[in-house]
Symmetry: C2
Subunit: 325 residues, 2 copies
C-alpha cells in the first residue's frame, strides 16, 4: 500500500460516504451517493492529505479540501462520461446510463457546487487563495476535456498539443491537490508551488504511462486488451510521437490505418505496433517518462520538511510510476 495511506484512504472513503448533498428530489442526489459508493483509488485526496502531513502531523485540516477535490473529480467524471458516451465506470453503469443524460448533467452541476462549498471550508486566511486556485484549476480541467474532444476529430495533433491537453485535463488537478494540502498544512506559498509542480509532472508521467501500458503492458495486468487505444483511434503520446518521428510516407500510412474503420482489430493493432517498433516508440516513451519523473522529483529538493518526510512522497510517486496495472 502507498505510504501509510491505508488509514488515510479509509478516512477519505468514510468521509465521502458521510457527505450530505441533499435529499430532495431524490433523483438529483442519488447519483452522487451512487458514484461515491463505487470506490476508486482516491489518488487526489490522498495527495492532499500527504502534502498536509509534510507540514503538520495531523491531516485533519486537509480533509475538507481533499473531499472537495474528490467531489470535483467526480463532477468531471459524470459530465465526461456523457460526452464520451461511456457506459461503464469501475464495472458499474455510469450515471447517465443508470439514470439519463439530463439527470447526469444536473447531478454533475450540483457536485460542482458541493465541491466549491467544501473547498471554502479551509481556514479563514486561506479562503481567497483556495477559492481562486480551485476556480483556475476547474476551468483548466474543462479546457483539457474540450481539447481532448477536439483532438478526436482532428487528424494532426502535435506532441506539444497532446502534452498540453493532458496537463490541463489530468495533471493540474494532481498539482492542485498537493498545493492546497501543503498550504493548509502551513507550507509557504513557494514550497506549495514546488509541490504543485511535482504533482503536475507526476500527473503527466502518470498519463503517459497509461498510454504506454495500453500498448506495451501485459493484458493480464492492465485488465484490458492490449492496443485498446489503437482500436479506439485515440491519439495518445505514442501516436503523436510516432507521427512526429515518421517520414511522410509512414505518417500517411499510420494516419490512414487509424482512420480505417474496416480493418480487423487484430490486424490494426499489429500494423500500428509494427510502425511504433520501427520508430522506437517504446524507447522514446520510456525516455519521456524518465524525464518527467526527474523533472517532478527536482521540485522536492530543498523543501523544509526534511528528507525523511519527503521520501514518503517520493515513494508514492515511485509506486505510481512503477505500477504495472
Amino acid at each position: 500500500m502507498l505510504f501509510s495511506s491505508e488509514k488515510a484512504l479509509q478516512r477519505i472513503n468514510s468521509e465521502l460516504l458521510l457527505l450530505e448533498f441533499g435529499n430532495r428530489p431524490a433523483e438529483l442526489y442519488e447519483p452522487l451517493y451512487y458514484i461515491f459508493s463505487l470506490g476508486g483509488k482516491r489518488l487526489r485526496p490522498l495527495l492532499t492529505l500527504m502534502a498536509c502531513q509534510l507540514y503538520e502531523e495531523n491531516f485533519e485540516k486537509s480533509l475538507k479540501p481533499a473531499l472537495a477535490i474528490e467531489v470535483f473529480h467526480n463532477f468531471s467524471l459524470i459530465h465526461d462520461d456523457i460526452m464520451d458516451q461511456a457506459n461503464v465506470r469501475r464495472g458499474k453503469p455510469t450515471v447517465h446510463t443508470k439514470w439519463d443524460i439530463p439527470t447526469a448533467i444536473l447531478s454533475g452541476d450540483v457536485a460542482l457546487v458541493e465541491a466549491y462549498k467544501l473547498i471554502m471550508e479551509v481556514d479563514e486566511n486561506l479562503k481567497t487563495k483556495a477559492f481562486s486556485l480551485f476556480s483556475k484549476t476547474a476551468k483548466e480541467v474543462c479546457e483539457g476535456q474540450q481539447l481532448d474532444m477536439l483532438f478526436e476529430k482532428r487528424q494532426q495533433v502535435s506532441v506539444a498539443e497532446y502534452m498540453e491537453m493532458i496537463r490541463l485535463k489530468t495533471a493540474v488537478l494532481l498539482g492542485f491537490s498537493l498545493q492546497i494540502g501543503a498550504l493548509v498544512g502551513g507550507a509557504s506559498e513557494e514550497e506549495a508551488s514546488k509541490l504543485r509542480s511535482f504533482g503536475e509532472n507526476i500527473g503527466l508521467a502518470f498519463q503517459v504511462k497509461d498510454d504506454f501500458l495500453d500498448a506495451y503492458g501485459q493484458a493480464s495486468k492492465i485488465g484490458k486488451t492490449i492496443g485498446g487505444d489503437i482500436v479506439a483511434n485515440k491519439k495518445t503520446y505514442l501516436y503523436t510521437k510516432a507521427m512526429e518521428l515518421a517520414d511522410d510516407k509512414t505518417a500517411k500510412e499510420l494516419g490512414a490505418i487509424f482512420e480505417n474503420q474496416k480493418l480487423a482489430v487484430d490486424d490494426k493493432v499489429k500494423t500500428v505496433m509494427a510502425i511504433y517498433d520501427q520508430l522506437q516508440i517504446e524507447k522514446e516513451t520510456k525516455i519521456l517518462m524518465e524525464e518527467l519523473y526527474v523533472r517532478a522529483v527536482k521540485n522536492l529538493s530543498g523543501l523544509s520538511p526534511g528528507i525523511m518526510k519527503i521520501a514518503k512522497l517520493k515513494a508514492f510517486a515511485d509506486e505510481l510510476m512503477g505500477r504495472e496495472h
Copy 2:
C-alpha cells in the same frame, strides 16, 4: 421602460460584453460570448442594481454580483436547453444546436465557475455570506429543474408541488438578486431578507402570469400561439389547479386529453380551455396572482429607504405584473 433602468441595462449589457472568460480553446469560450450577445431582459441583474440603489446612490458596488447572477442564469439556460431539447432561444440557435451537446455541457460548466468568480468579487466582509447564499440558490435552481423534468413524466402533480417547483426553478434566483444587491448596498440582513421574500413572491407571480398568458393572453401580444403549453402537455398552474378542482370524471377526461398525442392541436386547446372555463380557472389564477402580489408587497412595508425609493421597486413589480407580453 422600467424605473430609470435604461442606463442600468446599458451598463449591464456593456459589462457582460466586456467579461473575459478565456480564449483557448475557442470552442469552449465562444458559446459564452455568443449567448451574452443574444441579449435578454437582464431582469435579475437589474433587480440587483435596483436593490443596491435603495441603500446607496451609486450602484457600482453591485455590478459584479449582478453579472454573477446573469452569468449563472445563462449557465442554467445552456444546460436546461440541452435537457429540454430546445433548439431556439431568443430567435437564435441554442448552444448545443449551434455547437454540440458536449460543448454545451462544458461551456455551461465554465459559466458556473465564472459566476462563482464574480460573486466573490464583493467586499471582503460580504464574501462568506455571498458565497453561501449563492451556493444555496444554485442548488435550489438545479432542484427546481430536476422537479420540472420529473413532473413532465408524472400524471399527477399537485398545486403545492407545482408552486414549490417554480419557487426553486425561478423565484429563488429573483429573491437572491434583490437580497445580494441590498446587502452590497449596505442593508441589514433583516431588510435584505425582506427584499428577498419580495423577489421570491414576485417571481412566483411572474411565472404564474406566464402560465396565464399562454391560455388567456392575446396571441399577437405574447408572440406565440395561444395554448402552447396545452399542446406541449405542460403541467402549468392552470392544469394543476384544474386537476385539483375537477371532479373525478372531469379530471380523468383532462388527463386523457393531455396525454392524447393524436388529437388535432386546435381541438385539444379548445377542449382543455372549455374545461378550464367550466372550472373558472381564469378567475382562480387571477386570484392567486393577486395574492402573490399582495404577499410580495407586504415585505416592502417599513423598510428604511423610505417610501419614495421603495415606490420605484414597487413600480417595477407592477410593470412586470401588468405586462401583456
